[in-house]
C-alpha cells in the first residue's frame, strides 16, 4: 500500500498546477481517489462522517446489476443457438453472450467516461461517480444487436444533453441511461423495435434471420401480445399459447434487451438494493401497485385480448421488472420527497400499462413511462413541499387567531 501511494505521490506533481499534464489533473484525481480514500479530514461541521460515500453507493448498484448482466450474457447465447436450431453446452452459450455483450459494456463505459472526464476538467470539479451505474445500465437495456457506434453516439448524447447541460450528476432531470435508450429508439427505430433490423438480423437475438430456423420468431412476448391484439381474431388463450410460458418469462429465457428478461434475478438485485438501503423500496412497490391496479381495471373491461391477459404477466414481460428495480429508483431523476415517491412510482406503473395496452404505436411502455414521470417528478415534489409549507402557515395563523 505504501509503495503504491509513494508512486502516486511521485507522479502527482506532473498533474498539479504547472505540471506537464495539469489538464489531466481531474483524471489523475479520479484514479487516485479510486485507489485510495484520501487522508482528508473534516474541517467544519461534524468531525466524524458516515463511512458511506458515492463510490460505495454506486458500487452497490453495480453489484445488484451483476446477476442480470451474467444471466443476460448467457441468455444471448441461449437465444442465438435456439434461433440457429443448434444444441450448445451451457458454457458455449455463455461465452457466445460474453463476446457479444462485453463490447457493449466497454463502449458504453468508454464513451460516457470520456465525456465525464472532459466535463470534470472543463468545470474543474471532481469526476462524479454517477456514470458508473449509467454505463452499466445502457448495455443492459438495449438489444444485443445494437451496432457499437450507435451505443457510443447514444451514450455521448445522453451524458451531454441528459446530464452535463443541467450541471452534471445530481442535477439531471431525466434518467441518463433511459435517455440513451430513448435516443436510439427514436433515432434508429429499425434497430430497437420490430423483429428484423436493417442488417438482416433479428432485433432481439444475435442471429441472421436468413440462417435461423423457421420456427424461431425472435419476437418478444410483448410484441406477440400486441400482434395478437391488432389481428383481433385470436382468443386470449390462443394469444397466451403463442407466448412463452409464464415460468419462462419469470426465469428470463426469452428474447429481449440484454438485462431485462429474468424477473427472478432482477428480484435478487432488488433484494440487494433494498437490503443495503441503496434502492427505494417505496418506489419499487408503488410501481408494481400502479401496474397491478391498471391491469385489474383492464381485466374488468377486457375489450380486447391484451386486456384479458392475466395481470401478473405484465410484471414479468418486457422491461417492467428491470425498470421498476433499477431505473425508476434512480434517486436523482425520481421524486425526492417521501410522499412524492409513492405518487411517482404508482403513476409509472399506470402509464406503462396504458402505453403497452392502449397505445398501438409502442409495444413497451416502461421506458417512456419512467421518462415521462421523470419530467413530472419535480411537479409532484412541488406539491409535496407546498403541503409542508401550508402546514407551517396554518400553524402560524392558528397562533395569530388565539393571540
Amino acid at each position: 500500500m505504501k509503495a503504491l501511494h509513494n508512486i502516486l505521490d511521485k507522479v502527482r506533481p506532473h498533474f498539479e498546477k504547472g505540471g506537464r499534464f495539469q489538464k489531466l489533473y481531474r483524471t489523475f484525481e479520479a484514479f487516485e481517489t479510486f485507489l485510495f480514500v484520501k487522508g482528508d479530514v473534516t474541517t467544519r461541521g461534524s468531525h466524524i462522517r458516515d463511512a458511506m460515500d458515492m463510490k460505495r453507493t454506486m458500487f452497490h448498484v453495480i453489484i445488484a446489476l451483476t446477476p442480470v448482466l451474467l444471466f443476460g450474457m448467457w441468455n444471448v447465447g441461449l437465444q442465438h443457438y435456439r434461433a440457429m436450431g443448434e444444441e450448445a453446452a451451457f458454457l458455449d452459450q455463455f461465452l457466445f453472450g460474453l463476446i457479444k455483450v462485453l463490447p457493449l459494456v466497454v463502449v458504453s463505459y468508454a464513451s460516457g467516461l470520456i465525456v465525464e472526464f472532459i466535463f470534470a476538467t472543463i468545470r474543474d470539479h471532481e469526476v462524479n461517480e454517477g456514470f458508473l451505474v449509467s454505463g452499466m445500465l445502457i448495455p443492459l437495456i438495449i438489444p444485443v444487436t445494437t451496432p457499437l457506434w450507435m451505443v457510443a453516439v447514444a451514450t455521448v448524447f445522453a451524458v451531454i444533453i441528459g446530464k452535463e447541460v443541467f450541471g452534471g450528476t445530481g442535477m439531471n432531470i431525466l434518467n441518463p441511461a433511459l435517455l440513451a435508450r430513448a435516443f436510439l429508439f427514436f433515432a434508429y427505430p429499425a434497430y430497437l423495435s420490430g423483429e428484423e433490423n436493417p442488417a438482416g438480423n433479428f432485433v432481439w437475438t444475435q442471429a441472421s434471420v436468413d440462417q435461423a430456423v423457421d420456427t424461431y420468431s425472435g419476437a418478444t412476448p410483448l410484441a406477440e401480445a400486441a400482434t395478437a391484439t391488432t389481428l383481433g381474431d385470436v382468443s386470449a388463450s390462443q394469444m397466451l399459447e403463442s407466448m412463452p410460458s409464464a415460468l419462462e418469462m419469470f426465469l428470463g429465457t426469452i428474447p429481449g434487451s440484454v438485462g431485462e428478461t429474468s424477473t427472478l434475478l432482477i428480484l435478487l438485485g432488488a433484494l440487494i438494493l433494498v437490503a443495503t438501503g441503496v434502492g427505494s423500496l417505496r418506489i419499487m412497490l408503488s410501481v408494481v401497485a400502479g401496474g397491478l391496479f391498471t391491469g385489474i381495471i383492464f381485466n374488468l373491461f377486457a375489450v380486447n385480448v391484451f386486456m384479458e391477459m392475466p395481470v401478473y404477466y405484465h410484471l414479468i414481460m418486457g422491461g417492467f421488472a428491470f425498470g421498476t428495480v433499477y431505473m425508476a429508483t434512480d434517486p436523482v431523476s425520481a421524486s425526492q420527497t417521501g410522499t412524492g415517491k409513492y405518487i411517482y412510482g404508482f403513476l409509472i406503473g399506470v402509464v406503462t400499462l396504458l402505453i403497452r395496452v392502449v397505445n398501438p404505436a409502442f409495444p413497451e411502455g416502461m421506458m417512456l413511462a419512467i421518462l415521462f414521470m421523470n419530467v413530472f417528478a419535480p411537479l409532484i415534489d412541488h406539491y409535496v413541499v407546498e403541503a409542508n409549507i401550508k402546514r407551517r402557515m396554518k400553524r402560524l395563523k392558528a397562533v395569530e387567531q388565539t393571540a
Binding site: G170, R391, R392
Partner: protein
C-alpha cells in the same frame, strides 16, 4: 397527597422521538468526578458567540477579578463578557483578518470575585434581573432561536427552553453534572421565570432522567422525551413542545449556565466552575472533572491521551457532531460541558471505499455495522470523499425528527432564496439540528455550515 397530584398534572405526556441516530463511540466516561490541578491559563473565546464583534475593555497586563469585564459587543454595548477567573490579562490571540480568537488570562492561584450582590429573584424587577445578568457577564449564557445567537436583552421571549439531558455521542450525564447543584439550578430557574411572559419548558428524558433537581423543579413545565439523538437537542424539543413561528423569539440555556446564574443570585458572584466530561476513544481515563469555564484543557489531557499507535489526536470542545476543534493546549468553549478526543483520519486508505472493514460505521447497510448494534466504534475524522451534489434522497429525513424537509431547505439556502428558506422553516433550525443529516450525507455536503449561512442571510435581511 396534593404534592403527588400536582406532580402527575405537571407531567405532560411523553414525547417519543422516533427518527434519529445514536452513534456508538468508544471512550465513554466513568462516573468519577475529579478536580484537576488549577490551570495556569484560562480564556474567553469570542468566536463561541456567533456574530459577536468584540471591543476590548482591558489592556495587556491589567489585573482582573472573576467578573471583571474583558470586552463588549460592538453592536450591543450593554452585553459584556467577563473574566471567569482572577489573574492578569495576558494576551490576545488573533486569527485571519485580525479577528480576536482568544482573550487569555493568566490565573491567580485563588479566585477573587467581584461582588454583584446576592438577591432573591423574587424581590427584583425584570429590569433589575436583566441588568444583573448583563453586568456580571452572564447574559451571553442566554441564547435565542431563531438564529441561535446570544439573546437580545431588549426582547421578551415567548418561552424559555432548557434540555435536562443530552443525547449527543458520548454526552455527559446531566444528572451526574447537576448533583450537588440542585439549589443553584432551582435559583437559576427562578431568575429565568422573571424574564419571560410565557413558560420555562424543561425537557427531561422519560427513563434516564432521575435527578430530583429536574423532575421536581419548580416554576417549569416538564416535558418527557425518549428516543435516539437528537431527542436531547433543544431545537428538536422546541419543535415538539411549541414550534417557533415567524416572528417568535424563544430563549434557551444549558443546564450548567442556569446553575451559574443561580449562583450569581445566591452568592452575588460569577462563579464559573462547572463539570466537564473528558472522553472519546483516545482518552486513557475518560471521566468527569470540576473545572472553571474557559480552562486550558491540557490540565485534563496531560498524559491522558493514547499515543501508542501513532495516530494524531483531535481535541474537540463539545461533541463530535457540532463541537469546535481546538489545539491540544486549547481552551474549553463557553457553552461546553464536554471535551472529546478522537483520532485524526489523515492517513490514506487503500480502496477504503470498497473494503467493508469492521471498524467502519454507517447508517446504510452497506457496511457490517448494522449487524452489530452492540459494537462501539473508534471513528476518525476522515471525510471519506470529496463533496458531491445531492444524489441520495430520503436519508436526511430519517435523522431529523422535525416536520422540516432537510434537503429542500438546504437547497433553498444554497441558492439564497430567502422567501423559500422562510417557508421551509429556517426559523426553527440551528446548525446543530443538521449535524446528523451532515453525518449521514453520502455526498459529504457541509450542511451545518450551510444552515449557519442561511441564518446569517435571514438575520441580515431583517435587521
Amino acid at each position: 397527597m396534593p404534592g403527588f397530584t400536582t406532580k402527575i398534572l405537571k407531567m405532560s405526556k411523553e414525547i417519543h422521538i422516533k427518527r434519529g441516530l445514536n452513534i456508538p463511540l468508544k471512550g465513554e466516561a466513568e462516573k468519577i468526578l475529579q478536580t484537576p490541578p488549577r490551570s495556569a491559563f484560562y480564556a474567553v473565546k469570542p468566536p463561541d458567540f456567533h456574530g459577536l464583534f468584540p471591543k476590548m475593555l482591558v489592556n495587556e497586563g491589567d489585573r482582573v477579578k472573576a467578573g471583571t469585564p474583558l470586552f463588549y459587543d460592538k453592536y450591543n454595548e450593554e452585553v459584556v463578557f467577563t473574566s471567569p477567573v482572577s489573574g492578569t490579562y495576558k494576551e490576545l490571540v488573533r486569527g485571519a483578518k485580525r479577528r480576536i480568537l482568544e482573550v487569555r488570562i493568566e490565573a491567580d492561584p485563588e479566585d477573587d470575585y467581584i461582588d454583584f450582590g446576592a438577591a432573591t429573584p423574587g424581590s427584583l424587577s425584570r429590569e433589575e434581573v436583566v441588568q444583573k445578568l448583563l453586568k456580571s457577564g452572564l447574559w451571553p449564557a442566554i441564547r435565542q432561536r431563531p438564529y441561535s445567537v446570544v439573546a437580545n436583552h431588549k426582547d421578551i421571549p415567548r418561552d424559555i427552553f432548557i434540555s435536562a439531558f443530552k443525547s449527543t455521542p458520548l454526552a455527559p450525564d446531566m444528572d451526574f453534572v447537576v448533583n450537588g447543584q440542585e439549589s443553584a439550578f432551582q435559583a437559576g430557574l427562578d431568575v429565568l421565570a422573571k424574564l419571560t411572559g410565557g413558560d420555562i419548558h424543561l425537557g427531561v428524558h422519560s427513563e434516564n432522567t432521575l435527578s430530583k433537581a429536574f423532575l421536581e423543579a419548580k416554576n417549569v413545565v416538564l416535558h418527557r422525551f425518549k428516543g435516539p439523538h437528537p431527542a436531547g437537542n433543544i431545537g428538536i424539543q422546541i419543535h415538539h413542545i411549541k414550534p417557533i413561528n415567524k416572528g417568535d423569539v424563544v430563549w434557551y440555556l444549558e443546564v450548567q449556565d442556569v446553575i451559574t446564574i443561580g449562583r450569581l443570585f445566591e452568592k452575588g458572584i460569577y462563579d464559573a466552575s462547572r463539570v466537564v466530561v473528558l472522553n472519546g476513544s483516545e482518552v486513557v481515563n475518560p471521566r468527569y472533572y470540576r473545572v472553571v469555564n474557559g480552562v486550558n484543557i491540557s490540565a485534563l489531557t496531560n498524559e491522558n491521551i493514547h499515543t501508542e499507535d501513532g495516530l494524531n489526536p483531535r481535541f474537540i470542545s463539545g461533541d463530535v457532531l457540532s463541537g469546535e476543534k481546538i489545539p491540544a493546549d486549547g481552551f474549553l468553549g463557553y457553552y461546553d460541558s464536554q471535551i472529546t478526543v478522537i483520532p485524526e483520519g489523515d492517513k490514506p486508505e487503500l480502496l477504503g471505499w470498497l473494503i467493508p472493514k469492521l471498524d467502519k460505521f454507517s447508517v446504510s447497510r452497506t457496511f457490517f455495522s448494522f449487524m452489530m448494534p452492540w459494537k462501539k466504534y473508534r471513528l476518525n475524522t476522515n471525510i471519506r470523499s470529496g463533496e458531491r451534489p445531492f444524489v441520495i434522497t430520503g436519508i436526511y429525513e430519517k435523522v431529523l425528527p422535525m416536520d422540516i424537509m432537510p434537503m429542500q431547505l438546504i437547497k433553498s439556502i444554497m441558492i439564497n432564496d430567502i422567501d423559500m428558506m422562510e417557508k421551509l422553516g429556517i426559523y426553527e433550525v440551528a446548525p446543530e439540528d443538521f449535524a446528523l443529516p451532515e453525518f449521514v450525507c453520502p455526498s459529504k455536503i457541509e450542511m451545518q455550515t450551510i444552515v449557519r449561512e442561511g441564518l446569517d442571510t435571514i438575520k441580515k435581511e431583517f435587521e
